[in-house]
């Protein structure tokens, strides 16, 4: 009976990992963008599995629905990089190959050394209320400052790319 949740987890984790690998390995950037969407979708599934449905659907709404589409939009408008451009990145690639195992070992070691053992009990009412309380009550001030930050960044971006005033 208890094998269903782990089974779903394994499937979702496989989707996330496969999507992530596809982002890196696929030759076409459009394919990478779409696989990223798939990976995000898998992440949303993992959130839902953990009982955080609200976060799961915000993940879908923002990452799959908006970010992936924006990236696709950007890819289509900017065109494809000419072939052979990645030869210049040769050393970056080598460094990447060296760093990835290091980081992997580091992360795994940290996880096992710290042995996460949280006993978070799932709230029966879902995670909507805890989330709202956290954002609008407990962390209200940094949240509002962050929103002002986004506003400032938006105004700045528009000021930098707006056409016609010079």
């Amino acid at each position: 009976m208890d094998f269903i949740a782990p089974l779903i987890f394994v499937i979702l984790a496989a989707i996330v990992v496969a999507g992530g690998l596809a982002v890196v390995l696929l030759p076409r950037i459009t394919g990478s963008a779409l696989s990223m969407g798939l990976s995000f979708l898998g992440m949303a599934g993992l959130f839902a599995l953990l009982g955080a449905e609200t976060i799961a659907f915000f993940q879908v709404l923002i990452y799959v629905g908006a970010i992936t589409v924006l990236i696709l939009y950007g890819v289509m408008l900017t065109g494809v990089a000419p072939a052979g451009a990645d030869r210049r990145l040769f050393f970056q690639k080598q460094a990447g190959w060296a760093l990835v195992p290091l980081k992997f070992v580091g992360v795994v070691a940290t996880v096992f050394a710290l042995s996460f053992q949280s006993n978070v009990v799932q709230q029966p009412g879902g995670d909507l209320e805890p989330l709202a309380n956290a954002v609008f009550r407990d962390y209200a001030f940094p949240f509002e400052v962050a929103s002002v930050l986004l506003l400032a960044a938006m105004i700045g971006a528009i000021a930098l790319v707006k056409r016609g005033d010079d």
């Binding site: 779903i8 799959v64 589409v69 696709l72």
Partner: protein, 391 residues
């Protein structure tokens, strides 16, 4: 959402494990059946309505009164040869219809037809619907790109721009209703409107903005730029044919129309509420369906009446009219809700909302006329300037 791992035994002593799979199968078949029949019915309705509006008869050859026309069309689509251009991107071209179709199917899970007649009553139903609505864009963009065709690409990109823009007023209008109901759960929102105390009467401005945004989200006229025949052949649909085209156009489009109509029914029209529902809950399905179809007919009516937007008008209308309007509405509603005690807040919000609707109806044509005059003025001066040196 029921926690995974909890199994319920099925009826007739079916093993719980088998029942999980069986239940899923039944649900999917049910939904697909609903979508198919809905699409068939709505296409026929649309053609008949168009015919009457244009003083024609409409389909009448197949079946009595043309009733079986769309069945014949569907059979024809399924039987068609599967044509795909050699230069299309195979993988994406084939998956794109599925990417738009799937979220639409998934959305049916939470639609509350009547008390108890609902796939699952999750407490974030509205968020679920919004996020699935946002996913459909992906398929359209991919379809446009994979077709390897200029018209398709432009159609796909237009659609992405349009859908992302109109998602903002759409969600802001939903939030206004959620503020009043105090929940994202669809059944709670529906039951928060007892009798004639419909949200339609309290929040007409939110209804109006949502209705317009929903037209845009479902690519219906006057927002059907992604598939504008006169300029883009058929937009992102250009390279599609057969049942792939059918999935895209007929099933997804009409399914989405049904879903946004269901959302409007639940949020503004009291959902399944109607006479005698308390005695026979199953009557709710009837009321719900009726209300949904009233809205669908309104959609078709608009298609019959209005010409298509131009792309700059479309964006201007969204960012300069709809978003400020919805933001104002949200801000005012939230303030009044906090500021006033129980019955008075609804009355104040209602008065204000009707005011907003009136302002919208009065001001938009006036603004439009002024813009047009300014444009003509500029054109005139420019023409005079270009003509002057030659004279």
């Amino acid at each position: 959402m029921s926690p995974p791992g909890v199994l319920v035994p099925g009826p007739f002593g079916i093993d719980p494990l088998v029942w999980v799979v069986l239940r899923l199968l039944i649900a999917v078949l049910l939904v697909v059946g609903l979508i198919f029949n809905g699409a068939l019915l709505q296409i026929l309705m649309e053609r008949k309505l168009q015919a009457w509006a244009q003083d024609r008869v409409g389909p009448y050859h197949v079946g009595p009164w043309g009733l079986l026309q769309t069945f014949a069309d569907a059979l024809k689509l399924i039987g068609k040869e599967d044509v795909r251009s050699r230069f299309t991107d195979a993988a994406f071209f084939l998956t794109a219809p599925a990417i738009t179709f799937t979220p639409m199917v998934a959305a049916w899970v939470v639609i509350p037809f009547a008390p108890g007649v609902q796939g699952i009553d999750i407490n974030i139903g509205l968020l679920y619907l919004s996020s699935l609505g946002a996913m459909g864009v992906l398929g359209i963009v991919i379809a446009g790109w994979a077709s390897n065709n200029k018209y398709s690409l432009i159609g796909g990109l237009r659609s992405a721009g349009q859908l992302i823009s109109y998602e903002v007023p759409q969600i802001l209008s939903l939030v206004t209703v959620v503020l009043l109901a105090g929940s994202l759960q669809l059944t709670k929102i529906a039951t928060a409107q007892p009798g004639l105390q419909l949200n339609l009467f309290i929040l007409p401005a939110a209804f109006l903005t949502y209705f317009i945004a929903a037209l845009a989200e479902t690519n219906r006229t006057p927002f059907d730029l992604p598939e504008a025949e006169s300029e883009l052949v058929a937009g992102y649909l250009t390279e599609y044919s057969g049942m792939r085209w059918g999935t895209f156009l007929a099933l997804t489009e009409y399914g989405n129309v049904t879903i946004v109509s269901s959302i409007m029914t639940t949020l503004w029209l009291g959902g399944w509420n109607g006479p005698l529902v308390d005695q026979a809950p199953i009557l709710g399905v009837l009321w719900f369906t009726l209300k949904v179809y009233v809205i669908i007919v309104a959609f078709m009516w608009i298609r019959l009446t209005l010409p298509r937007f131009r792309i700059d008008q479309l964006m201007n209308f969204c960012w300069k009219v709809l978003i400020p309007l919805t933001l104002t509405n949200l801000f005012v509603t939230a303030t009044l809700k906090v500021a006033l005690p129980a019955p008075w807040d609804l009355i104040a919000i209602g008065i204000l909302n009707w005011g907003l609707v009136a302002a919208f109806i009065v001001l938009i044509p006036r603004l439009q006329r002024r813009r047009l005059e300014r444009l003509r003025e500029r054109l005139r001066t420019e023409r005079e300037r270009t003509l002057a040196p030659t004279a």
